[in-house]
Amino acid sequence: MAAIYSLYIINKSGGLIFYKGRMDTNDSLRVASLWHSMHAISQQLSPTTGCSGIELLEADTFDLHCFQSLTGTKFFVVCEPGTQHMEALLKVVYELYTDYVLKNPFYEMEMPIRCELFDINLTQAVQKDRVALLGR
């Protein structure tokens, strides 16, 4: 079964608001802002009109799938090469975000996510049909 290495959620300005994985915090922040800038640059560089940025990055040892909502929040996941249905997983994470994070009255927009229900449901969603290496 394919494995997911980590999941990142970044806000409109490129700040990391959620991270699940085994990396050091500083490194994860660095990756998040790096990806935000690369995503923005790719939108400008793209030869096709109406491009909304990088959706998939394939490397030798990992794949990176990215989903950007129309409001500018980006959800991306680093997984084993060849993992299937990552776009569907990202959509599910987006729905969980709207249900458990945005509806939490104590959650401030664009701030780091500290919502228990979101964490619980996220682990459930990820573990439903795949082996995840998140948070171990």
Partner: protein
């Protein structure tokens, strides 16, 4: 209040309804009236009274569940009870790069025959990335 609801509501609307980017403001208004109101209030609204350049329209609601059991007392006759809805629309559209102004034209609680909201597009604000000019 409505504004804060709107900025969070837009993500839920986009996630649950799976719509793609709207091509122009006309499509946006149709989306709000047909899909948005249906999803959150259970009523369908209609869009009419488009102006010449397509930046201003009216959304008409026959039925407004917010006021089902509401009657304005004498001391509050000037109150826009449903103004929260205009805030919601304004907040939601601002999160998708459109600055709008939303006002009530007709309100049944104040004696009119229907609920009519006017949505005016002020400007589109595309994402700007900070560019530092070193020279």
């Amino acid at each position: 209040m409505g504004y804060n609801i709107g900025i969070r509501l837009i993500d839920e609307f986009l996630a649950k309804s799976n719509v793609s980017r709207c091509v122009d403001f006309k499509e946006t208004a149709e989306m709000i009236a047909k899909v948005g109101f249906k999803m959150f209030l259970g009523v369908t609204a209609s869009v009419m009274n488009w102006d010449a350049d397509g930046t201003c329209c009216s959304i008409v609601l026959e039925d407004n569940p917010l006021v089902d059991f509401v009657e304005l007392p004498d001391t509050c006759q000037g109150l826009y009870y449903c103004n929260i809805l205009s805030g919601v629309i304004r907040g939601a559209l601002e999160m998708v790069a459109m600055k709008t102004e939303v006002t009530w034209i007709r309100d049944m609680l104040r004696g009119d025959d229907a609920y009519e909201l006017q949505v005016k597009l002020l400007k589109q604000v595309p994402e700007e990335y900070p560019y530092k000019d070193d020279e």
